[in-house]
């Protein structure tokens, strides 16, 4: 099936089966490798992208269901003011260990701050709980979200 997608502000045409998850269209068809594969069943968040600004697990979203939604991946999140702030906080606090989960973490954090500019501790945990970090960088993730939202890092 042929589909027309909006990815990172560009129109892209792909020809894939309707059940192909958005993640694999991005990675294998379009060569957009920032979204990562961790589980394939919407459990880990490594594949998180935005559709119209909302965080979505792209591994569990068939291309057929994307419709006209504007897809944004980690590659373009820095063009967004909130996204750039989140990336900066992530760099300054050296959040990553292996780094594999971090594109997904940054996408979830950006969506959180876009909707809720000064989240409290519980709201941060709730919004980020869908993103597993196997290296367990959670303490710095919390601190970076707080820094990106202009709050002191220690809650």
């Amino acid at each position: 099936m042929a589909y027309t997608l909006s990815v990172n502000g560009r129109t892209r045409r792909v020809d894939v089966e309707p059940d192909t998850p958005l993640l694999w269209v991005l990675r294998d068809t379009l060569g957009i490798l920032g979204p990562k594969f961790g589980c394939g069943i919407a459990q880990c968040g490594a594949c998180t992208v935005h559709i119209d600004g909302a965080p979505v697990r792209s591994c569990a979203l068939p291309i057929d269901a994307v419709g006209k939604g504007r897809v944004t991946t980690i590659e373009a999140i820095g063009d967004n003011e909130v996204g750039a702030r989140v990336q900066k906080a992530w760099s300054e606090l050296d959040v990553a260990q292996c780094g594999y989960c971090q594109p997904g973490q940054i996408m979830s954090a950006t969506a959180l701050l876009a909707a809720n500019p000064r989240p409290n501790a519980e709201e941060i945990d709730a919004a980020m709980a869908g993103n597993i970090c196997r290296c367990a960088t959670y303490i710095r993730i919390r601190a970076a979200v707080r820094r990106a939202s202009g709050q002191p890092e220690e809650a």
Binding site: P35, A96, I106, I132, R140
Partner: protein, 730 residues
């Protein structure tokens, strides 16, 4: 992976100048080691290059799996050469034992093995740059100093940046590195400073860094189905059904050879996208040959262990004093059985590898912790010459010991050769969960005796562990004869029984220690409570006034260092001084592994329904006199602690009919952010060489957690993972 096995080795690395333009290029010839080139002229690696534009390129030889060596090792070189860290570029080395010796990420060994060598490389570069400047100015080298990236002659006010000196420095003779004076730590500008990882900008912008991101021209995608029962052969598979699926280029059987560590039997499907390969795999309807291993089940393992615990042990590994007499004379004796399950590494990046076979040469891009054994394995399994195989070391999305094995590398190489095209093999999460080399399960049956003063006078541990039919413990399933509290109790016996269980096992972060500490530090806690003693005081008494016990670098255990961290953690956690609410409590534990001394206090609150909230963890660690990169060091400690808690609270691999039950993160629970407590890290600096941090902070976490649960509820956790149902009120 042996603790400290090689730290004492005095490798005579000869630092030399490498001929060739482009500035000052410093390399090593590895001498005096069997694996290195012996003959002259030795092949030189290029560790450090100073470019005429002032950029310094440092080669990072070991794999980066999130432990931070690609940053911390170059920091050490840059420090001694007084480079400007903002003008240092790190390059990842390929796998080449002739150039680089052993290149691996394991045993927390990168820093202890290279601390001296890297400092001398840096110092040599600095000496050459100074010599070049001094010569051009007609002054004595000793009259010159350096600032980051510059040589300075104070008396005349002259200065020159490293880039402008690089070519001239490259024409000088390198001094004997052993004669160079190294910096005093007080003068450090890079080492000891919070330094973000060199790959941070690429990580936060989603650049393709990982094995799974490798793309080659004309590359195809592969999935490889193996039997649910470890190692079972293929009876039949509907290859034609798979081949009929869209995008599929090849589907074929792999007979396999060399066992689970090399190439297991299975069915490969190669397609023009990974999703299409997966869809085709669903059509295979593979039938597997009957296998004796299908008899295995976790229930059966428990029965075997229980039977073993009731009988005499296979053998006595160690017996000091007279345990039976001491138990008889003890004023109090207690007994307890501890058990822990198999667990999976669960790297977030599933195993994967990319390979291309062209004109008889194999090129491999592998997220591996252990590239050279992988190269050898590929050579052996595919019948290639090792020199015809190149392994590119690619950043890995987590190591934890899983990527010390290289079977995914062999699979990718095999499939690429069969497919006649470059192939990226990716395992599904379920493939990864069900085809691991698991942290072994284990069982401990303890007996302990206390004298009238509440001191431990007898300790017996009947350790029951999986292994071979002839009584050899499996990989990473052994316990050392010197495991604490051996040598610290007068009457000590360690009995061993080995259960014939063939579940594949392997090293997982702090192998052995990550489970044994739970049992040992739990039982010590039981003895402390039986003695009516404070758990910290009781442990300090157990460590006594011993100093260094055993031989450093082998079985050495420095009790003074352990007392230091134990006292520190008691102090910073407010141990004994903090009022606890009902069902709130603190627990303590310590453990020595990978040359690091760690003590921890965990504070929990247990709800009426048994749900556990870990409120905070305090850690004190002693890894010598210098923390190389405080950012990475704190990360490793916090990550290790949370890893240990995550395992203890939720992880278990079980088997039914020879197959692993758990498949994905819905059935195999990793800690999430809302469960992660703050972890307060304190380093106790001691006058010892710096050692690694990838592992030693993990082992005390599970027992400190369970001891805290006891303090909060009066219920003793003797089996992992913790079952909250046991902690509910009523």
């Amino acid at each position: 992976m042996a603790d400290g096995a090689q730290t004492g080795a005095s490798r005579r690395d000869v630092i030399q100048l490498v001929a060739g333009g482009g500035g000052l290029v410093l390399g090593f010839a590895l001498a005096g080691k069997g694996e290195a080139a012996q003959s002259a002229p030795a092949k030189l690696n290029t560790y450090v290059t100073v470019r005429p534009d002032g950029w310094v390129e440092v080669v990072s030889k070991n794999p980066e799996v999130g432990q931070g060596v690609k940053t911390s090792m170059p920091m050490i070189i840059a420090e001694e050469m007084d480079a400007d860290w903002n003008k240092v570029r790190t390059l990842q080395a390929v796998s080449d034992p002739v150039l680089f010796g052993r290149q691996f990420a394991g045993g927390s060994l990168s820093i202890p093995l290279h601390w001296d060598e890297l400092r001398r490389v840096g110092a040599t570069a600095r000496a050459l740059l100074i010599a070049a400047a001094a010569k051009s100015w007609g002054v004595e080298p000793s009259a010159c100093t350096t600032e980051p990236g510059r040589v300075i002659h104070k008396a005349s006010g002259r200065s020159a940046d490293y880039g402008s000196l690089a070519a001239a420095a490259g024409g000088l003779t390198a001094p004997d590195p052993q004669t160079l004076k190294l910096k005093e730590p007080a003068d450090y500008r890079i080492v000891g400073r919070f330094t973000p990882q060199v790959d941070t900008p690429a990580i936060v912008s989603g650049k393709p860094l990982f094995g799974i991101d490798v793309v080659l021209p004309g590359m195809l995608f592969a999935t490889f189905e193996k039997a649910p029962v470890f190692g079972a052969g293929v009876e039949s598979a509907d290859l034609d059904a798979a081949r009929a699926m869209k995008g599929v280029r090849k589907a074929f059987l792999v007979e396999g050879s060399g066992g689970l560590e090399a190439l297991a039997p299975g069915v490969a499907v190669v397609a023009d996208s990974w999703w299409r390969a997966l869809k085709a795999r669903e059509k295979l309807n593979t039938r597997w040959k009957a296998s004796e291993a299908s008899q295995m089940s976790s229930r059966r393992f428990e029965e075997m262990a229980a039977g073993s615990a009731r009988s005499a042990a296979d053998k006595v590994v160690r017996h000091d004093g007279d345990v039976d007499a001491a138990l008889k004379s003890a004023s109090k004796t207690i007994e307890a059985e501890y058990a822990y399950p198999y667990i999976s590494h669960a790297n977030l990046e599933p195993q994967n590898c990319t390979a291309r076979f062209q004109n008889g040469k194999m090129e491999i891009w592998a997220p591996t912790q252990n590239p050279e054994p992988g190269r050898q394995l590929v050579a052996k399994t595919l019948g290639l010459k090792p020199e015809d195989i190149t392994v590119h070391i690619i950043r890995a999305g987590g190591g934890f010991g899983r990527r010390l094995s290289n079977e995914y590398m062999v699979e990718a190489a095999w499939i690429a050769r069969e497919a006649g095209a470059p192939v990226k093999l990716i395992w599904t999460r379920e493939d990864d969960m069900r085809h691991g080399f698991y942290r072994p399960a284990g069982w401990h049956r303890f007996k302990g005796g206390l004298d009238a003063q509440g001191r431990i006078i007898a300790w017996e541990d009947h350790f029951i562990t999986p292994g071979s039919r002839d009584g050899q413990p499996g990989r990473s399933a052994a316990m050392a004869a010197t495991e604490f509290p051996a040598r610290f109790t007068p009457n000590f016996r360690y009995n061993l029984s080995v259960l014939p269980i063939s579940v594949p096992t392997g090293p997982l972060r702090a192998p052995g220690s990550n489970a044994i500490s739970f049992a040992v530090q739990g039982f010590i806690d039981e003895l402390a409570h039986a003695a009516g003693a404070d758990p910290v005081d009781f442990r300090l008494k157990l460590l006594g006034d011993f100093g260094l016990v055993g031989t450093p670098g082998r079985d050495g255990y420095d009790a003074a260092r352990m007392r230091g961290v134990l006292k520190k953690v008691a102090e910073v956690s407010g141990w004994g001084r903090t009022k606890m609410a009902p069902r709130q409590g603190q627990g303590v534990a310590f453990h020595f592994s990978h040359m690091g001394y760690f003590a921890q206090v965990v504070q929990v609150r247990v709800a009426e329904d048994g749900q556990i909230k870990v409120e905070k963890v305090w850690v004190a660690g002693d890894v010598g006199r210098q923390i190389v990169n405080p950012s990475g060091a704190i990360q490793q400690v916090q990550g290790s602690v949370l890893d240990g808690l995550s395992g203890a609270l939720g992880q278990e691999i079980t088997l039914e009919n020879g197959a692993v039950v758990q498949g994905n993160f819905d059935s195999y629970r990793l800690m999430r952010i809302n469960e992660a407590p703050p972890v307060d890290v304190h380093f106790v600096l001691s006058d010892n060489p710096p050692t690694g941090l990838g592992e030693p902070a993990l082992p005390p976490a599970p027992p400190a957690l369970c001891n805290a649960i006891f303090a909060a509820t009066g219920k003793r956790i003797r089996r992992l993972p913790v079952d909250p149902a046991l902690l509910a009120v009523g």
